[in-house]
């Protein structure tokens, strides 16, 4: 594909004059896999402040990513808004439900005039306007395996548990990342499954730390001491490399070494007995290492969930909340409707 154009299926063009589009060169998804690198120009004028958060590499990856958001109620539209603003390749809005009054208290791109219309179709144009670089479209058919395979990331917000499990199994097997999310009143739930062998390239987004060296001992547990004003700021298990060291020059530009923190100014870097004696100078710098995660598919994870705690004061309620959401699916499946508000 030589150029990216705004594609909105079956939606009238905006009445306002469309803004100037910048053409991007985007490699086809398949060839990107082959090359490993996407040749995308990131619009620095638009993305300036976000680039400083994510970096060029991450944004280039995002620009090749096709996202499916299923369920465009209040939660779905918030997700869609943020994802479209960020600059992925495409966002497809999926919904088989029509707009009702119950949507309007949080779906800000639906209005009374949209009641009865398919939710995804009714708000697609407004969402598309948020970012010319993203192809926004809608779809109201079933989520078959062939359809799902067009996407790298799938978000479900309004699906039954049965559907969640079905999609989860398919996604996990096909290397598609899945996020399931829901809000019920004042309770919110998020589940993530990015598959097996998911590589986290930058765990924290912090700048790698560095410090000036005062001395390095020759020892089986060689100790690096940093100069007075210069705490190393490293943590146990971090990886480091060196530069400008005089004497023990073997360390300069060495492959990343794992460290053990001994104090705020000292740390151990393993065996230095075979190196030349340290004379002076040098800088120790952190090397950020990738991390591999292996996610469980939903079916398994439901039974032995690993939680991220959001409020330590409510830690003990996690199991209950987990149960509550699960029970609700069960209730819906059995009774075909939701409990009435505040119904004992």
């Amino acid at each position: 594909m030589a150029s990216k154009k705004r594609k909105i299926e079956e939606v009238e063009d905006a009445d306002e004059s469309p803004p100037k589009k910048k053409t991007l060169k985007v490699d086809d998804h398949k060839s990107m896999e082959a090359n490993g690198v996407a040749h995308v120009e990131i619009d620095e004028g638009l993305y300036s402040r976000q680039l400083y958060v994510l970096g060029h590499d991450a944004m280039r990856q995002m620009a090749t990513c096709n996202v499916l958001i299923s369920g465009v109620g209040g939660l779905g539209v918030e997700v869609a808004k943020n994802v479209i603003l960020s600059g992925v390749r495409s966002v497809t809005l999926h919904d088989q439900d029509v707009c009702a009054y119950s949507d309007l208290s949080s779906q800000f791109y639906l209005a009374e005039s949209d009641i009865g219309k398919n939710r995804a179709q009714a708000c697609a144009r407004k969402l598309a306007e948020l970012n010319d670089y993203v192809q926004t479209s809608f779809y109201d058919g079933p989520l078959t395996i062939e359809y799902l395979k067009k996407f790298q990331v799938v978000v479900l917000t309004c699906s039954t548990q049965e559907e969640q499990l079905r999609v989860s199994d398919l996604a996990h097997a096909s290397g598609i990342a899945l996020i399931v999310a829901d809000t019920k009143g004042l309770f919110g739930q998020i589940f993530c499954d990015f598959g097996e062998n998911f590589k986290v390239v930058d765990q924290t987004g912090e700048n790698p730390v560095s410090a000036m060296i005062a001395s390095i001992s020759q020892d089986t547990e060689g100790i690096v001491t940093c100069i007075d004003d210069s705490r190393h700021g490293l943590e146990d298990g971090d990886y480091v490399t060196f530069s400008e060291v005089q004497g023990m020059e073997e360390l300069n530009g060495c492959p990343p070494r794992k460290i053990k923190v001994l104090g705020p100014y000292t740390l151990s870097i393993g065996d230095t007995t075979k190196y030349s004696k340290y004379i002076r100078g040098g800088v120790i710098s952190q090397v950020k290492m990738p991390k591999i995660l292996n996610f469980l598919p939903m079916r398994k994870s439901l039974l032995s969930p690993e939680y991220l705690i959001t409020d330590f004061a409510k830690m003990d309620n996690l199991a209950t909340t987990h149960l509550a959401f699960a029970t609700l699916h069960h209730y819906k499946a059995k009774k075909q409707c939701l409990p009435k508000p505040w119904n004992e």
Binding site: Y101, S105, A181, H322
Partner: protein, 643 residues
Amino acid sequence: MAKEKAASVNIMDNDINEEVLRKFSYMVSGDTCPMNAVIGGIVAQEVLKASSGKFTPIFQWLYFDAVECLPAVRNPEAENYEMNESRYDSQIALFGKQFQEKLGDLKYFIVGAGAIGCELLKNFAMMGVGAGSGSVTVTDMDLIEKSNLNRQFLFRPWDVQQPKSTVAAKAVKAMNPKINVVAHENRVGTETEKVYNDAFFENLDGVANALDNVDARIYMDRRCVYYRKPLLESGTLGTKGNTQVVVPHITESYSSSQDPPEKSIPICTLKNFPYAIEHTLQWARDTFEGVFRQAASNAAQYLTEPAFMERILKLPGCQPVETLESVKRALVDDFPTGFEDCIKWARNQWEDHYNNQIRQLLFNFPPDQITTSGQPFWSGPKRCPVPLTFDIKNPLHIDYIVAAANLKAEVYGIVQNRNRDFITDVVSKVEVPPFTPKCGIKIAVTDAEAQSASGNVDHDRLQYLQKLLPSPSQLKDLVIKPLEFEKDDDNNFHMDFIVAASNLRAENYKIPIADRHKSKLIAGKIIPAIATTTSVVSGLVCLELIKLAQGHRNLDVYKNGFVNLALPFFGFSEPLPAPRQRFYDFEWTLWDRFEVKGEMTLQEFIDHFKNEYKLEITMLSQGVCMLYSFFMPPAKRNERMQL
């Protein structure tokens, strides 16, 4: 039913909290925008993580709830929660019709219509805040820029250059036509206190900050404490965000705790001993200020302000001499008559900064210098520099000349020339005067040394300069334009200059150079920002608003939030209570004040406190005016007592 399900998901009976389960079951058809904003923001960040591998994903379940938003005592009437074809149906199912009306009657002030402001306005419109007999006033003095569009989602490319507040107000009115929103373009501060006066504030139910700087936050906090209004405060920095709620009479205020001040770079590090790119960037920035703004400004004032000389001569210390030297350089020594002169000037600047001054430094402190304690002088944070030799084949050197020459030209109203080849040709022919390092030049090694070096005022020099300067009338056709640093305009040479100046100095000191993107971040003091974090904090803040509207007085109901979507990390804590102090039997906090009614003389005022509270006033002031103090001379005191 939950118990049956429990077995199938491996949860033990005694792990179940029935209270929580019950609350959940009551609210399953409820839906409120701020919850979706919080969860939606987090989920979107997870989507970006999945697509890029940047940041650590949620592994694997996250639960969040805001049950504290429920009222302390629930209205049990079922019909209060019935849906009846209103846009607020789902929220009514959660909080009831009465509460929905309460939200509609609220009068709120949103300060700022940027990223957080847009999100707040959207949340308010969906929640129905100010959509009944209430109103929302939003103010922002800024115009929309392209880089805003990436997260200030109410704005579109065709809105660029329009005022933020009016466009935002219009956009949310389209979302909910019933919301009463008034848009202002005022900057909050002492100058706008006629607009945001007693009547305005007393009428409010609360204020939500959507600001991008601490000073404005402190100002709004002061106003809210004075008028005793709740304040919703939030901020973001990349993936990090925080929220704070200030409840009158109950919590501490925003200003009750302060972040430690940012460490500034020591002067000697900047001047002679940089060891990080941040130092060379600050140096470049300071050079820009000094040469293209300050010096130009002095010269411009000399030419246009009749009272300039008089004013300058009154300044303390060496300032008069320094200022006049700067004017002399601008109008005599370095005065360009055409663009070629600008190039020549740039070449000489280059030589001075990247060669001569370095050589002088090395003359004072040679590379093998040893300190009194026997250690090498150039070690640790003191990196030994090397002088650079100008080379027309070095693109970085030419970058500097192109930028500096064009900036100089702009200051003097000379037509600019962007032709690199032309500039390279001219600069190759410039001959710079030879330089030999001099003895007796004092270079301070530590900031303490620099402070103690006194400047003797040289009166002879002062008179000499005054005589030498051409009179303003002689230069009456000259217009000198000081330049204000603008980081986002890629065509103005500002960033070009900063990058070149900084990287050249980095080469002197063998510090790894920074590309334009990184240089702009540091020199431009840019705050990284992304829509996801903004969405989350704005949602959290609106949940606190709901608690305020419910009338909660218990500290433990409120939550100050801290998030970092990258790790990911979420933490909540109770706001700190307002510190209690006492005098005699009387307990008071920052929310209390003495109210004295009626007109009275100063003597009567002082007596009032002595009699009513057994307090002796030692000092009384209004604003910056001292009305009374116990150490006042008796004559003055007696005079004032009768007023």
